[in-house]
Every structure is written in structure tokens, then in C-alpha cells.
């Protein structure tokens, strides 16, 4: 680990990508993530990397597709409306099995909404905003440091699965400054892509041409293709689930499920409740796809636990996954707010007390 430096989330994300060996960045400005582009507009030339400001998010999505298809390690960053415009491209990239990293610094929605932190794109990110059967592997950081680590992890994962990976942050993660350390050791060499990438037959010394496509006109082939994609998503569910437990060792009356910025507020609330002698546990999904089904169910059915509350900066999205995996073993409640008015610890304490 290097020394601690104070950095804005957006800039740290840009730097993390470079440290992870990603020197290709295409993006279109949008609040609250524009600082990534501004940072990399300066940094990429210094490290001999590529920075291109696309004409739109639609175009950027396909620049990413093309670059990734040609074998490059590549990423982009955007925010909610911009990500919607990329949803066709994300579906194509998943269908063509290309690795790529997308960062969504969520802002309030729907529509133009607002520019303050929100978690309103949970569904879009985890259930596939685009058409067809595909999933992204989605990680949700709760601090600038974690954003850095997840970005650096995203590239090898994208290549392991030849699938898009999304970092699901929010305006606070992007705009806030916190101390960060860059784990240099995480830097990974891109995997060998000679078997599929359109890198030019000559440069990979092969006489076999490569094809990057998502079209399968024959229904049986398309079904097989989808079964193959499904097997990758099943493998993610088996191998890539990441989550954090907080205060779940002892007895707790209530289990909170919360991710990203929202989980930090919950952590404070849990600490304050502890001082009042009220025990509350929390599971914080770090991957929201794959979702930590079993850990949440196990934590929910603990003798002492009377109810589960999914707390989100939205109108109730993750709660559907929580309900699904709690399987009716405990009542599942939801609390949330959106639009940037992040609930305070005091508010959360109230919500929890009502459920005791």
C-alpha cells in the first residue's frame, strides 16, 4: 500500500483504473461524475493512455464495445440517464462476451431527476436495464477507498467472465474526498485474448480470424448461447458473492440490509443504538449481483432476529431481492428516501425502533 492521500471519489476512481492497468477511457460528461473525465483528460496523456470524449453516451457505449472487442482493457463512467442510454450497448457487450467496466455514479431519478446521491438504479444495474437475458457483475462501494479497490478488482473479473462489470456508486462516493491508499499489487496483466478478440490475425500470429458478435439467427444456437451466458452468471453466484457483516456476532433483534453510502449511515445508527442497549445487525452486500442470498437468509433466521429491514436510497428495489431470499422466514420491511436527501442516523434509529 502506498501512503494515504486525500482524494475525491471521482478522481480516485480514475486513478484506480490506471493502477489496474486500464489505459483506455471513453466517456461523456455528466454530473456528478464529470471529474473522472476531467481527471483522466490530464492523466491519460501522462501515462500514454487513451482519453476520448464521445459525442454521447450511446456512442461511448459502442466505443467501449469496439475497443474491448479489439482486446483492449477499457472502461467508462457515467450517471443514471447516461447509463440508460448505454443499455443497448451493455446488452450487446454481454451478448458478444466482451469484458468492460462501467461506473454508474447514480443521481436522483427518474428522468432528469436531480444531481444528488441516490440508489435508484439498483434495478437497472442488477436486473439488466437492457434487453435480453444478461447480467452484469455489480459491485457497490461504501467509501472512496472501497471504490478504488472495487475498480481495480473489476477489470480482472470482467476478463475472467468476459462480461461487463459495473461499479454502482452514488453522487456522494463520487464527490466526497476521503483518504485513499492504492494497493499497487492489485495491478493485473490483461488476460490473453487471442482466442476471440479482433486484434488482427498478424499481431496475434494466427491464420484464424476472430469474430465479435451477438447475432445468432438459428434459435438452437441462440438458446445454447444463452445457456452458456447463464452458466457464467451461475458461476458468479457461486464464486463472486461479496458482502460485509456488521454487529452480527451477538444477538440482534433486527437485521438491516443496506449497501453503499446508505450502509454507512446505518452503521452509525447501529452504533448509536448499541449505546442505548439495542442490538441491530447488518449485512452489507458488496456485490448486488450476484446477491448474497444465503448469508442474508442465514442472518435473518437467527433465533434473536425478529425482522429484516432493507434500507435504501430509493423507493424500494433491493427489498425485492431481500424478500426473495428470506423466503418468508421473517417479516421484511423497507425504508428509503430518494432525491439526495440521505436519511440521517437519527431517522434510521427511529425506523428501527418502530420495528422492535
Amino acid at each position: 500500500m502506498g501512503k494515504k492521500i486525500l482524494m475525491k471519489g471521482n478522481e480516485a476512481i480514475g486513478e484506480a483504473a490506471i493502477r489496474a492497468g486500464c489505459l483506455n477511457y471513453f466517456a461523456y460528461p455528466i454530473t456528478p461524475q464529470s471529474e473522472v473525465a476531467e481527471y483522466l483528460a490530464k492523466r491519460m496523456p501522462e501515462v500514454g493512455g487513451v482519453f476520448v470524449q464521445g459525442e454521447s453516451e450511446v456512442a461511448v457505449g459502442y466505443m467501449i464495445f469496439g475497443a474491448s472487442g479489439a482486446g483492449a482493457r477499457v472502461f467508462t463512467t457515467s450517471s443514471s440517464p447516461g447509463v440508460s442510454l448505454m443499455s443497448e450497448a451493455i446488452s450487446y457487450i454481454a451478448g458478444a462476451e466482451c469484458p468492460a467496466v462501467f461506473v454508474n455514479i447514480i443521481r436522483g431519478g427518474p428522468g432528469l431527476g436531480g444531481i444528488l446521491p441516490s440508489q435508484g438504479d439498483y434495478f437497472q444495474a442488477t436486473k439488466g436495464g437492457g434487453h435480453g437475458d444478461y447480467h452484469m457483475l455489480v459491485m457497490a462501494p461504501a467509501s472512496v477507498q472501497e471504490a478504488v479497490e472495487m475498480v481495480m478488482l473489476a477489470f480482472p473479473l470482467a476478463e475472467k467472465y468476459r462480461n461487463p462489470v459495473m461499479i454502482l456508486g452514488d453522487g456522494l462516493i463520487g464527490q466526497m474526498m476521503e483518504p485513499v491508499e492504492f494497493p499497487d499489487d492489485l495491478r493485473t496483466e490483461p488476460t490473453n485474448k487471442d482466442s476471440w478478440a479482433t486484434s488482427g490475425m498478424k499481431s496475434r500470429g494466427s491464420s484464424k480470424r476472430n469474430l465479435v458478435k451477438s447475432l445468432y439467427l438459428d434459435p438452437t444456437q441462440l438458446n445454447d448461447h444463452n445457456l452458456n451466458l447463464k452458466s457464467k452468471y451461475d458461476q458468479m453466484k457461486a464464486e463472486e458473492v461479496r458482502y460485509e457483516r456488521y454487529n452480527t456476532d451477538g444477538e440482534y433483534k433486527i437485521l438491516i440490509v443496506s449497501f453503499g453510502t446508505m450502509s454507512r449511515v446505518c452503521r452509525t445508527a447501529i452504533d448509536l443504538l448499541k449505546e442505548e442497549g439495542i442490538e441491530v445487525g447488518m449485512i452489507r452486500p458488496q456485490t448486488v449481483f450476484p446477491f448474497p442470498d444465503a448469508p442474508i437468509r442465514d442472518a435473518a433466521v437467527k433465533e434473536s432476529c425478529k425482522a429484516v429491514i432493507s434500507i435504501e436510497m430509493n423507493m424500494g428495489q433491493m427489498v425485492e431481492d431481500v424478500e426473495r431470499c428470506v423466503k418468508g422466514q421473517r417479516p421484511v420491511h423497507w425504508y428509503g428516501k430518494c432525491g439526495g436527501d440521505v436519511p440521517t442516523p437519527e431517522e434510521i434509529m427511529e425506523v428501527i425502533k418502530e420495528r422492535l
Binding site: V58, F65, G66, G69, G71, K202, S207, N210, V212
Partner: protein, 252 residues
């Protein structure tokens, strides 16, 4: 005067799915010949559009990517920016490039992306069954202009070569046709020239090719060629609209 003729290496043996007399096949061959003659096959990446040429990757023997409808220029940009040493071409229809893909082609051209766009203008949407394209002629009947294109409601046909050549960034912009051998030979020259400029890393290169769609025009292949010559060529004049030489000083 006797000559030999054989299928270029850059073309596969596959029989195309194109309708009888559709000149997509001619354009494929010309691109393949240019690639062969310049010895680029093993460093070329083609980009198939969404359109009748969606399966183009089956007919070429170089690396290929398949784009979403209209987005081939953005994909080509992505490839060229990360691999400037590769030769990249897009192959796009008029619905693909001039309708949904208008933003992408203009910005790729204006950024001066160093790839070659082959633009097949057949005045109609072929693959989806003959709907109106931005290039459809006034009065021309299509499945979405059953009474003939009404210019008061849908405007005049868009001339992409002319439109792109008004951009200040240097580029090579030409329009040719593949309606008869005499045009085909010229089209071949233009396409080859475009690839040569790309090899020199010179500028964005664009060759519009006036083509036919017998099926959706509801004509025989021969009638199609004649109609295109009579109706399309007067509105879509052939020639070079812009060369980097003309422009480089202004841009400097």
C-alpha cells in the same frame, strides 16, 4: 485484352444470402479486392452493420465485429483509438448510417477518426422489408411511404457525401456506383484510395456507393440498375467531394 478473374482472398467461399441481382455482393467484392491488393487482410477489422449486410462477417475472411444498428462508426473509433496499427472499415446501409447513425458518422468524421466507412446507398431499408430511408427519392413508394415519399412531410433525401464534406476536418469523401462495369471500376478505385489514405494514417475516409435493392424496389435486377441510373444518379452525383490535400492547410 483477355484477362483472368478470381474471387479475392479476403472473400470467403460462402454463398451470400443477398437477393438475386443485389449489388451488395459487388461492393463486398470491391472491398475484398482492395484489401487483397494492399495486403491488409491480416491486419484488418471489418464492422458489419445492422441491415442486409448484417452477415457480412460470413463473407469476409478478416477479423470482424458486428455493430448495433447505426453505431459502427463509434465501434470503429473505439478500435482505432486503442489499436491505431489496425486497418478498420465499416460497411453500412443508408438506414443504418444516415438515419439512426447520423450522430455517430458525423462525429467520427469530424474527429477525423482514421477508419474507412463504406456507405451503401440503396434508397431504402432492405432487411426490414423496404421502409423509407433518409435517402429515399421524392415520390418513391416504400412500405412506410405507400403513396410515395412526400417531401412536404418527410423532407428531401439526405446526401451524406455532400453533408460530410462540409465539415472543416480534413477527410476523403467520394461517391461512386456499382450499377454497371464502368461505374464499378471507378468505385473500386475510390475504395482502394480510401484504404490507402487510412494506411497513411491520413484522415477519415468515406465512400458512398449507389447500390440497388431489386426486392424492395419491386423491380427486376436489370430494371433496378436502369431506375437507379435514371433516378438516383442525377440526385446523387458521382465523384470526389473532398480530399485531405484540399483541406489540410485550412485545418492547420
Amino acid at each position: 485484352m483477355a484477362k483472368t478473374f478470381k474471387k479475392p482472398e479476403a472473400l470467403s467461399d460462402a454463398h451470400t444470402h443477398y437477393c438475386p441481382g443485389c449489388t451488395h455482393g459487388v461492393i463486398h467484392r470491391l472491398v475484398a479486392e482492395a484489401i487483397d491488393e494492399l495486403g491488409l487482410r491480416d491486419m484488418t477489422v471489418g464492422i458489419a452493420p445492422v441491415g442486409c449486410a448484417v452477415l457480412a462477417y460470413n463473407y469476409f475472411t478478416c477479423d470482424f465485429q458486428e455493430a448495433a444498428h447505426g453505431r459502427a462508426p463509434a465501434m470503429a473509433t473505439g478500435i482505432k483509438r486503442v489499436r491505431p496499427d489496425l486497418i478498420v472499415f465499416t460497411y453500412q446501409g443508408d438506414g443504418d448510417l444516415a438515419s439512426i447513425g447520423m450522430g455517430e458518422i458525423i462525429h467520427a468524421a469530424n474527429r477525423g477518426e482514421k477508419f474507412t466507412a463504406i456507405f451503401v446507398n440503396n434508397a431504402v431499408y432492405g432487411m426490414t422489408g423496404g421502409q423509407m430511408a433518409p435517402t429515399t427519392m421524392p415520390g418513391q413508394r416504400t412500405t412506410t411511404s405507400p403513396a410515395g415519399r412526400d417531401v412536404t412531410a418527410t423532407g428531401m433525401p439526405i446526401r451524406m457525401a455532400e453533408l460530410l464534406s462540409t465539415l472543416k476536418t480534413p477527410s476523403y469523401i467520394a461517391r461512386q456506383a456499382v450499377l454497371r462495369p464502368k461505374y464499378i471500376t471507378k468505385a473500386k478505385k475510390a475504395i482502394k484510395k480510401a484504404f490507402q489514405y487510412q494506411m497513411e494514417n491520413r484522415c477519415f475516409t468515406f465512400v458512398e456507393v449507389v447500390s440497388t435493392c431489386p426486392t424492395n424496389w419491386g423491380m427486376s435486377p436489370l430494371e433496378s440498375v436502369e431506375w437507379a441510373e435514371k433516378t438516383l444518379l442525377p440526385y446523387y452525383p458521382l465523384g470526389e467531394f473532398k480530399t485531405p490535400e484540399q483541406e489540410e492547410q485550412d485545418a492547420a
